[in-house]
Each structure stands twice: as structure tokens, then as C-alpha cells.
Amino acid sequence: MATTQIIRRRIRSIEGTAKICKAMEMVATAKMRRAQHQAVAGRPYADKISQVIADLAAQSRVAEAIHPLLQSREVKRIAIVHMTTDRGLCGGLNTNINRLVAGFILEQNLPVTFVTVGRKGRAFMLRAGQKIHAEFTGISDRPTLFETLPISRVVIEDYSNGDFDLAYLAYPRFVTTMVQRAAIEVLLPIEPAKLPPIQAVDYIYEPKPSVVLNELLPRYVEMKVYHAILELVASEQSARMVAMRNASDNAKDLMEHLTLVLNKVRQETITKEICDISGGAGALARR
């Protein structure tokens, strides 16, 4: 039977863990608010640039408009931009995205290379024996567009070079604080959103449409990657907050249970001692 000393030690250790979990929960909560705000603030640009590209694509069906980034070609190789967190302790977030992508590549009959963002995904892909094309780690909790440009540059350049013919973007999409859903989207070639084309017949372009598209399309990809990173950060902090809250709740339950056990054991010891003493006293009296 466990002695009171061992139980006390156990309670104290759980108390320490609970404190750390609580602290991490609070840090994650603060970061989560900022990250969620940032993710939402970026949405107007995403909507607008999609609109503009849809307009442009609807306008100029001329050969000129078939920009390399818009053109779908025969697919021989696939790249996946795989986004995970650097740090763990965020529940099933990374496991979910890893599982989704692993299932996805099993369905493909073509060679797949990875551009990994975050240490967790990189480690997973290496363990799975996948080819890694490029890797990025150390994304801050407050990502700027500038910070994410190297990622999109690599994807755009190597797509243009023909290293791969189709690029997917896999990231945990932030739905609510409780729900993050792993998502896979096509990143390249760009599929212009099918918005109802506006009626304007003659668009004035300054300079030529091809020049405008040349500038606009890479920006669109940069924006998509940046936005996915924002979703990733918001998801990470939310998932960590929820995981840490569960952990500290669990610790509290465990402590309550152990305190009950401790009291019972202590009571038993006391009862036993009293029994011994009164038994001894009775034996003496009888003599």
C-alpha cells in the first residue's frame, strides 16, 4: 500500500506540472488573440486580389493572358508545401495535418517533393522517407508578409523552372478556437475564382495586361502562403491553449483524487495506531 509520503510527493509533482500548464495556457491565450486578429485582418486583401485576378482572367482570354502561373501543364511531379508548427504541446494539430498529407500522397502515383514549414512536419516527412525540396523553420508568433516571402519565392521559382508541375498547400485552417481543420489546396497553377464576370467590356491597362499579370500573380501566391502561415499560427496558439487547459483540468482532478486517497490512508494509519494502543492497554488492564 502507498504510504502517505509517496502520495504527498506525487501531489506536489502534479501541482508543479499544473502550474506550468496553466502558465502555458495563459501565454497561448494572449498570443492566440493577436494571431486570430491578424488572420482576420488579412482576409480583405485575399478577397480583393482574388476578385482582381478573376476580373483579369475573365477579361483577357487572349493568348497573352496565359501566364505560366495560370497555365496547367501535364503533371509529372508534385510539390506540397507542408505547414506545421515548430513546437509541440498543441494537441493533435500536427498529427492531423501529417496524417492528412500522408494519406494524400499515398493516393498519388507521381513523385512528390516537400517544402516543409515548421520542425514537426519536417521530422515527420524525414521519418517517412519523403524527399524534402526546401525547409523553413523559426516562423515567429507574429509573422509579417516579408518573413514569408522566401517560402513563396522558392515555390514560384521552382515551379517556373519545371521542378514540379503542381503545387499544393497543406496547413491547419483555423475555424474556431476549438476547431482547426487540416486542409489541402492547390497553390499552383493558379485557378482564378469563378466569380460572375463584370460587364465592363474594355478595361484600360496601364501598362499592358501581360505586365500587370506578371506582377500580380506572384503577389497572389505570396498572399496565399502568408495567409496560410497566419492560419497556422492562429491554429497553433488555439490548439495549445485548449490542450493546456485540458491538461491543467486533468491535473486538478488528479490532485483531488490523490488528496482523497491520502486522507484515507492517513485515517487508516491513525485508526490502526489507536487499535494497537487500546489493544495494548486492554491487555495490561486484564492482567
Partner: protein, 138 residues
């Protein structure tokens, strides 16, 4: 006075969204003014100031390049970077300007002249917008 909807967004946030009377921007082909019922237009923007007029009130934004689209229903500015006058850090902009000027003067080969020139234009745009605000406040 006739108005139209103007929306200025960067990848990081929505900077401006309101009904306005006129916009003057720096396109790559020169400065252009946009009034209500302008023909549909798509242009690239150079780093520069963006003048917004609403009910005889003028406001400037510093734009670090981007795109401007005139649609029948509204005008969209997709800016690479954009600040309101009150957000501009004048000392930083001045430092950036000096740095860009030095690079251009020294012709350091490893730094692209075009990059430095773009940086110079961006800092000049910021300074100009900040200067206009200071004058108005006085």
C-alpha cells in the same frame, strides 16, 4: 457631390474603406486622378503618395507600390505597404532615405540599383505624406 467607394488594402490589414469624391495616385505611367464614373482600369502603382478627397477634406496615404483597379462598383487599391500620415515614423523614413541615397551614390555593385531606387522612392513618399500632415496641423 458624386462619390464612389474606395478600398485600400494591404496583405496585413484593411487601411481605408469609405465613399470618396476623388483619388489621385502615382501609376507607373504617370500620376492619375480618378473621379466617379471612371472607365474600368487596371494599373500598377509606383511608390508614392495617394491623395484622397472627401467633402473638401484631403487625406494622404503613403503607398509602397501595388495595384489599382477601377471597377464599375468601386475602386480597389492593393498596396504592398501602406501607412496613414499619423503612422509614419519620420526618423526611420529619413534614415532609409539616406541609406538608399548613399547606396545609389556609392554604386555598391552587390546591391541592385533598382532595389535602392525603389527604397528611396518609398522613403520619399513617406516623408512627403508626413510633411503634408505636419503643415496642415500647424
Amino acid at each position: 457631390m458624386a462619390t464612389f467607394r474606395l478600398e485600400v488594402v494591404t496583405a496585413e490589414r484593411m487601411v481605408f474603406s469609405d465613399d470618396v469624391n476623388m483619388v489621385v495616385a502615382w501609376g507607373t505611367e504617370g500620376q492619375l486622378g480618378i473621379l466617379p464614373h471612371h472607365a474600368p482600369l487596371m494599373t500598377m502603382l509606383r511608390p508614392g503618395d495617394l491623395l484622397i478627397r472627401k467633402d473638401n477634406e484631403e487625406q494622404y496615404l503613403a503607398i509602397g507600390g501595388g495595384f489599382l483597379e477601377v471597377r464599375p462598383d468601386k475602386v480597389i487599391v492593393l498596396a504592398d505597404a501602406c501607412e496613414r500620415a499619423e503612422e509614419i515614423d519620420v526618423t526611420r523614413a529619413e534614415a532609409a532615405k539616406r541609406r538608399a541615397e548613399e547606396i545609389l551614390k556609392a554604386r555598391v555593385p552587390e546591391v541592385d540599383a533598382a532595389v535602392a531606387e525603389a527604397a528611396l522612392r518609398r522613403s520619399l513618399a513617406r516623408l512627403k505624406v508626413a510633411e503634408k500632415r505636419r503643415r496642415r496641423l500647424r
